[in-house]
Subunit: 152 residues, 2 copies
């Protein structure tokens, strides 16, 4: 399960992309039903990672710093929730050996989760905020992969 925080982050970014312009934090919070002070922390972190830009003072607000089709789900999730990999020894951003694992080559379960990680990245690193922008009613696949949208 992804965290509530990550959901908030993604929805806020989608909202900023929809608006196309600067939005006040309170306005985003109200529209997406996100606790305002919590959203502050989230956007601040997005700012530190160069995803959004902010302006202070009256007439302040947040806006996207990168074009929506350059912001991937994977990027956002790694910032908020940390590694996508299901095992620390499979993480690209925060590799750690599994404490109780003698050698990775003979780990019985590593190869299985490597495939899970790979397919999760395949989706998350190719899907962008822009892909979530289209009207949900005539929603089509992100970029042509009809197979990917199959049942469930």
């Amino acid at each position: 399960m992804i965290s509530q925080k990550a959901k908030y982050a993604l929805r806020a970014l989608v909202e900023l992309a929809r608006e196309g312009d600067s939005l006040m934090i309170g306005e985003i919070a109200a529209r997406k039903h996100i606790p305002r002070k919590f959203l502050e922390q989230i956007l601040l972190e997005m700012k530190r990672h160069g995803i959004v830009h902010s302006r202070r003072g009256k007439l302040g607000g947040y806006s996207l710093l990168m074009p929506p089709d350059k912001i991937t789900y994977g990027q956002v999730l790694r910032i908020i929730d940390g590694p996508i990999a299901p095992l620390p020894c499979l993480s690209r951003i925060a590799y750690r050996r599994c404490a109780d694992c003698k050698t990775e080559e003979t780990c019985e379960i590593r190869r299985v989760f490597a495939r899970v990680a790979e397919s999760a990245r395949d989706v998350l690193d190719r899907t962008t905020i822009a892909d979530s922008l289209e009207s949900p009613l005539l929603a089509d696949e992100p970029q042509g992969g009809a197979r990917a949208m199959a049942r469930l």
Copy 2:
């Protein structure tokens, strides 16, 4: 990230499958470096779900109740860690609406995570304990499904 507990469960099941016979809990714990009392709880839960069988008393021990190629990774992970789905509204075993989501049809992020869930299940529900049994050196695909192994 999957939990430590799930890793223990999977490794213990692989060890039981390797042994092919009954094994004492202490023996499994020693071989796989799993805290003994923690493993007790795990195996008890596996027993409640019909995965393993136990015998009490002297000469007691645990053994698999199902053949290793019928025990999937997905099955074990759902018992120990709960839903595989990244969002509660995408879970098959524990569906819950996202509290802050008006309608699922218009949720901006749901469709993306539906694809992640699908591909994770694709791997986890097709891979079994038996697939982790082969010598890691001449490791090949789980069961011939070349598609499942496809690039990335």
